[in-house]
Symmetry: C3
């Protein structure tokens, strides 16, 4: 019968729960990945026409230090988690190449910035194969990318996510005011390759990372310590712009920088979606924003998700402001 | 004393937890609902004046297949979960009739689209009785409705929710661009009639359904499979509009369609709340939106909540795009 | 090895879980706070110049009744949870004094409304000491404040949070329409001083409180019952404005008033961030809003977070509307 609870079944379920606690085996590194730690492969981005850019990325298995001394044999793009930043211009056609160096599992690429039929443009690339795809990026903004191979939650949670910025043709109305800009990405870490924990558990860590907008900028992985130990930097009086993206996989973000107010915010990074004077910006899972704020005094400005259980799990970092 | 932990009480609480795991009885179908499976009753919507519409709905107990082979003896409006779509015009007065065919429990109707004193306009209708109510719908948009009878969480989570669209008098600025439109509703399913799981648990399933905007459109229930097995349809090159509503009861939604970008978004479906170029729209619990996007290639476009644990629990479906 | 699961370690972890359930000791009131219940100290707010205001607050340990008969020995500002409302004008400089009457723990103040280097302007004040700070409030809106002392999650969750309103220099475009205004704050309560429950648990209660905008208005604590037993009041036909703030610490809010629609909404309380016709406003953790709505009939209008598990945990109250 529909929804009928059978008392004996219930009793058995309850006993199973107790037994389960004793017998439960955690997922581990799959056989073909054991001992594998593929050296990070640089991303290749090359402009080949006024409105055409070639992007080549690699799916690979690489150890990532997610907390001091704790490594995660991540499924990655290019050996980084989040993957390397991709920057293109509004109106570009992207010729995308995915090399799959994972010996065991197919992977794929889903750019939130493009228009394509996912069943073709975001198709699987088999182990040791290379796939090529072409699609336009016609909407400006700060977009998530991720592997979309089934089960997608496992591919994202194991590390296959990142950010693509599509620069608006006509810029942002506040471009001239900005002195310095950074990328920040929020992601979660769970029990290793554990679809049950990915689905029903809470994050073990929630973390931030930064990615290089230009030569000399840093690329960090999503971990609990790097952006606390080695802060982002700014000078007193500067207006700082942050391209922020919450790649999840599961949690929304309440992005906040302590000690300041966001003068201007562009939701999902689209210049049309202009908000002002915000203390905190709500980022849905996969959502992005451009936020701008002025740092008026010398000192340390933490950034967090103000869902403080997540800050407690690691999601904070420091912007250090020094004399000009 | 305030907040003082008594070690003996703590020890006992801990033991209780172990015992609880062994003795816990799950809620079951209440006696008067056992064996009851009331045939779906069609909703009646009749325009009776230029700005006046009669709507008649039924509270009833009906089995809903929420996952393949798994039925839930739902508390429903009209034998559907979510209930049938209601569409009225901005400025309409709604004469609403609720027939309560549930033999055991009072039910009620809370339309988020109307102005009324809830203690009167959303009052309980007792078993086997009929209530009539009148209220204006003066705000355009995509609104949730639900039973508001105490405990409201149980009435919503057991199935008594749905969507009412109030069409804007002056339309949306993008009306002329739209080729095709659908309704999508996100809802959660928990353990059967289990207020404890509704409150403290995680969803067993998160699901989408579609409802008929016009004759010939489909009405599906919120389940894990229908919109995967029998996709929504569009033609290549079309602009698709979706009226989307997250009826919860508990979770927010990060609504996203893979392979495209929302060109235009109207938060809560109000033309004034216009956003552009969004990858994902954040829907609070009960929140709605109108989203529009173009599908540029033949193939399959999944829609999800990008809170991927929920997609993994069922919250995805397919929009299939074919040649014109 | 990275992410490698050791079966014996797993077996041990599983056994530990069972043992843990039997042995777990809950945190209790720390020694120096036992028996302490400091009388609420009134906040002092004094305008000392056209654009300068002195604000003096107190960190103190005070019992708060969070549910009928259940007291929490809270870490508070001024003996209230949330702390007292602070209202200043856009462009004010705030001279802020924090007296720390807590005999044991340093505390601090982080106003989301101001610009300062947190490492200085939000610095710790040691037990029995007094700190003074000066910073400008140049952005209008509805902002959270909270203690930022490490671990911040514990200081917020134990009670050290509240709301500061910065009144916009040029007002809101709808100022002339408003008949009555209130402040509502949403916060969560967890197991007593339990950083583990703060981080990994679910709230025991989610609650609303109201704070005085002018003399004669009420100041209530965040509890499950007061705003149900003694409702907010309005007259039929009035437009009611609510300054609403979600101080968390962890959960986002889907703020909704039953029986009406928000005619005008200002996200984070900034007049620029104008939305219309919303059923529900999404508040990130720490986020604020100004919402305005008309109550058209005599009766009771509940307000809730429409994340109904939280309403079930306490987050509802009543606005009672009577004849003019
Ligand atoms: Cu993958
Ligand atoms: Cu995605
Ligand atoms: Cu009901
Ligand atoms: Cu509702
Ligand atoms: Cu404190
Ligand atoms: Cu804060
Ligand atoms: Na989860
Ligand atoms: Na976990
Ligand atoms: Na829950
Ligand atoms: Na459940
Ligand atoms: Na939690
Ligand atoms: Na708890
Ligand atoms: Zn696990
Ligand atoms: Zn969570
Ligand atoms: Zn802050
Ligand atoms: Zn249950
Ligand atoms: Zn959840
Ligand atoms: Zn996608
Ligand atoms: Zn506890
Ligand atoms: Zn929660
Ligand atoms: Zn409602």
């Amino acid at each position: 019968g529909c929804g009928t609870a059978d008392p004996e079944a219930e009793q058995k379920e309850a006993e199973d729960n107790v037994v389960a606690a004793e017998e439960k085996k955690e997922p581990e590194v799959i056989k073909p990945h054991q001992g594998l730690n593929q050296e990070p492969t640089p991303i290749k981005i090359e402009r080949v026409g006024e409105n055409e850019v070639n992007v080549e990325m690699t799916a690979q298995i690489t150890d990532i230090e997610i907390a001091p001394g704790e490594f995660y044999k991540a499924w990655t793009f290019n050996g980084e988690v989040p993957g390397p930043l991709v920057v293109v211009e509004e109106g570009d056609v992207i010729n995308f190449t995915l090399k799959n160096m994972d010996p065991a599992i197919p992977h794929s690429m889903d750019f939130h910035a493009v228009h394509t039929a996912p069943s073709k443009g975001f198709a699987n690339v088999e182990p040791d194969e290379t796939g090529t795809f072409t699609y336009p990026a016609n909407n400006p903004g700060v977009f998530m990318y991720h592997c979309g191979t089934n089960p997608t939650l496992s591919h994202i949670a194991n590390g296959m996510h990142g950010t693509i910025i599509v620069k608006p043709k006509d810029g942002y109305p506040t471009d001239d005011l900005v002195d310095r800009e950074y990328v920040l990405i929020q992601n979660e870490w769970y029990d290793y390759n554990d679809l049950e924990d990915f689905t029903y558990g809470e994050p073990n860590y929630v973390v931030f990372s930064t990615k290089a907008l230009k030569d000399g900028d840093r690329n960090t992985n999503g971990d609990t310590f790097t952006l606390k130990d080695e802060p982002l930097l700014a000078k007193v009086g500067e207006r700082v712009r942050i391209y922020v993206n919450n790649v999840g996989p599961n949690e929304v973000s309440s992005f906040h920088v302590v000690g300041t107010v966001f003068e201007d915010v562009y939701i999902d990074g689209n210049p049309y979606n202009h908000m002002k004077g915000m203390q905190t910006v709500q980022l849905p899972a996969s959502g992005g924003a451009v936020v701008e704020f002025v740092v008026t005094e010398v000192g340390s400005y933490p950034f967090v998700t103000h869902q403080f259980e997540h800050a407690q799990m690691g999601a904070s970092g420091i912007l250090k402001v020094t004399e000009t």
